[in-house]
């Protein structure tokens, strides 16, 4: 017995049979009734759902804020650890740029 051939013919026959797409009378009414019976979320549930959905974006924002804040602190830290006797003085060079430099030998205390 050639199983492959028999199987192929069985499938061809199944393909050839017309599809039964009949619909029971007023089936759409049954579906719409079932849909309307579905429990609706109240305001509290919707609010809670919204809060949960906001968790991931908030975590990302918080992480960004923390990272940025730490970077700024590191940058400021170069100045923050300077001696209390330090004062900032203007430094004008002939090139026209104005900068600030630390003068650790100043006798005046900032504190």
């Amino acid at each position: 017995m050639d199983l492959n051939k028999t199987l192929e013919r069985l499938i061809q026959e199944a393909r050839r049979r017309p599809v039964d797409d009949r619909v029971p009378y007023a089936f759409e009414s049954r579906v719409m009734h079932a849909i309307r019976q579905q429990p609706r979320a109240d305001v509290t549930t919707l609010w809670a759902r919204g809060l949960w959905q906001a968790v991931a974006p908030c975590v990302v924002l918080a992480a960004l804020a923390i990272t940025t804040s730490m970077k700024l602190q590191v940058a400021e830290g170069d100045y923050a650890y300077a001696s209390p006797n330090t004062e900032l003085t203007e430094n004008v060079d002939l090139g026209g740029s104005v900068g600030l430099e630390l003068n650790e030998n100043s006798g005046d205390s900032l504190w």
Binding site: T6, L7, I11, V19, R22, P24, Y25, V31, M32, I35
Partner: protein
């Protein structure tokens, strides 16, 4: 049960109805139900024999599609999106209703036995319309014995004649997975057919 097969409508009608439903006009969903229920019934009847089960499957498809309507991205046709939900509901039904495999492959009808004998005869006569129902019935018996994933693949790939890519899109499986499952499904079907043919002579 009376016949009611209203169809028609365009993609623009689908979009308009969906937007209206999402805007709060739930009654417009009935248009979508009317338009697609024949196709859903045709699909569900491939996976369930009892009419009450078929109706439950179709109702479930529409309820799920209503609940997930806001996930439809308008870049793909609504019909494809709905069919994907339909296939998944049918697959879930198969997984939840696996029958006792020993009971169904017994008691072939006279027509079914005759069809198999004719098919097995040397030179095997061409099947004709008279025995077409018997062939379909034999296929139904074989499919009921198969695992849900194999049965789904055979229905979509072989009987509905969809391409591998279409099956992958409908099921959410990758193309290689569809091919592997198709190979296994054919092997399982062949094994069951052999068993059926041997049992016939016992």
């Amino acid at each position: 049960m009376s016949l009611d097969t209203r169809q028609g409508g365009s993609p623009a009608d689908d979009t308009s109805a969906v937007l209206a439903v999402l805007g709060g006009d739930v009654a417009r969903f009935e248009e979508i139900v009317l338009r697609y229920q024949p196709r859903m019934f045709a699909m569900a009847r491939r996976y369930a024999r009892r009419e009450d089960e078929v109706q439950d499957i179709v109702q479930e498809i529409f309820i799920k599609s209503f609940q997930r309507l806001n996930t439809w991205r308008q870049d793909a046709p609504f019909e494809h999106w709905l069919m994907r939900i339909g296939v998944r509901v049918c697959y879930d039904f198969l997984r939840g209703h696996q029958r006792n495999k020993e009971s169904v492959l017994s008691d072939l009808t006279e027509d079914e036995s005759r069809w198999l004998e004719r098919a097995e005869a040397p030179g095997g006569g061409d099947s004709d319309g008279i025995d077409g129902d018997a062939a379909k019935s034999i296929v139904g018996r074989l499919l009921e014995q198969m695992s849900p994933s194999n049965r789904l693949i055979i229905n979509l790939l072989e009987i509905e004649d969809k391409s591998v890519k279409e099956v992958a899109a409908l099921t959410g499986w990758s193309v290689p997975l569809v091919k592997v499952r198709a190979f296994r499904a054919r092997a399982e079907m062949k094994k069951l057919l052999q068993k059926l043919s041997l049992d016939k002579f016992l």
